[in-house]
């Protein structure tokens, strides 16, 4: 498990492309620089998508974990 403290948690379980990305973008906009968002998804495509999204937007993908059918992402707002 990651030892990063999340400032906000976003549940994207059951959602399919592109909703996890769109919701993550919306959520991160409400945070302050340096804050951490924890996002949980079940879409297997979200690993590549979140990697691409953070690369493009400059936000930091601190870690991603797989737990059962779930993918858990920690993202630090730039």
């Amino acid at each position: 498990m990651s030892d990063v403290q999340a400032n906000m948690e976003l549940d994207c379980r059951g959602l399919n492309c592109p909703l996890p990305i769109l919701k993550t973008k919306k959520a991160i906009e409400t945070l302050n620089t340096g804050d951490v968002l924890k996002m949980i998804a079940t879409d297997p495509g979200s690993i590549n998508d979140m990697t691409a999204w953070t690369k493009r937007t400059g936000n930091e993908l601190i870690s991603h974990e797989e737990s059962g059918d779930e993918y858990i992402f920690f993202i630090r707002k730039k």
């Binding site: 492309c17 592109p18 973008k25 493009r56 937007t57």
Partner: protein
């Protein structure tokens, strides 16, 4: 990132299945801090109507899987071999197929076209309607959602010339 990437799309089709790609790509591109313009032309213009009424027509889509969105997995996995003679002649067949496709999308957690379009509008995607096709089909601007601009090929090309991504859908 200082240099904003730009994406220029042409949306030329108005069926439910083809309504997805431009709105998915546009909403995602904006979420990735890109600037987006979609040029709606020919049947794509109908995607700008206030009341979206996009349907699918299975008889013109030979590769479209015909599956049921409900029931046990073994039932859902059946591909129904529906002959064109039926799918193209049976009244209401397209409506049924459209309902089934919407149900499938919903059960898979896919956004509706309306939702994606709303996100595009809210996030500042520039929507341009093709003036020439509007005249041909007899569409007026007040039939479209607010914020639509009108233009022609030159309007699209001017933006596309500066864009990093240009796609025709």
């Amino acid at each position: 990132m200082s240099d904003t990437k730009k994406m220029a799309l042409i949306a030329s089709r108005g069926t439910l299945d083809w309504a997805y790609p431009p709105f998915i790509l546009a909403s995602t591109a904006v979420a990735m801090d890109m600037e987006v313009q979609i040029f709606f032309t020919f049947y794509g213009l109908t995607l700008l109507k206030k009341k979206l009424d996009a349907k699918v027509a299975p008889h013109s889509n030979p590769s479209m899987p015909m599956k049921m969105p409900f029931g046990p997995k073994s039932f859902k996995n059946i591909e129904w071999p529906i002959p064109n003679l039926i799918s193209s002649n049976l009244p209401g067949f397209n409506d049924v197929a459209t309902t089934l496709m919407k149900k499938t999308f919903k059960s898979k957690g896919v956004a509706t076209v309306e939702q994606l379009r709303d996100i595009c509008v809210e996030s500042g995607v520039k929507l341009v309607g093709c003036q020439m096709t509007m005249d041909v089909f007899g569409f007026t601007k007040d039939e479209f959602i607010d914020g639509v601009e009108l233009g022609g090929a030159a309007t699209f090309l001017e933006f596309a010339a500066e864009a990093d991504i240009q796609l025709f859908v």
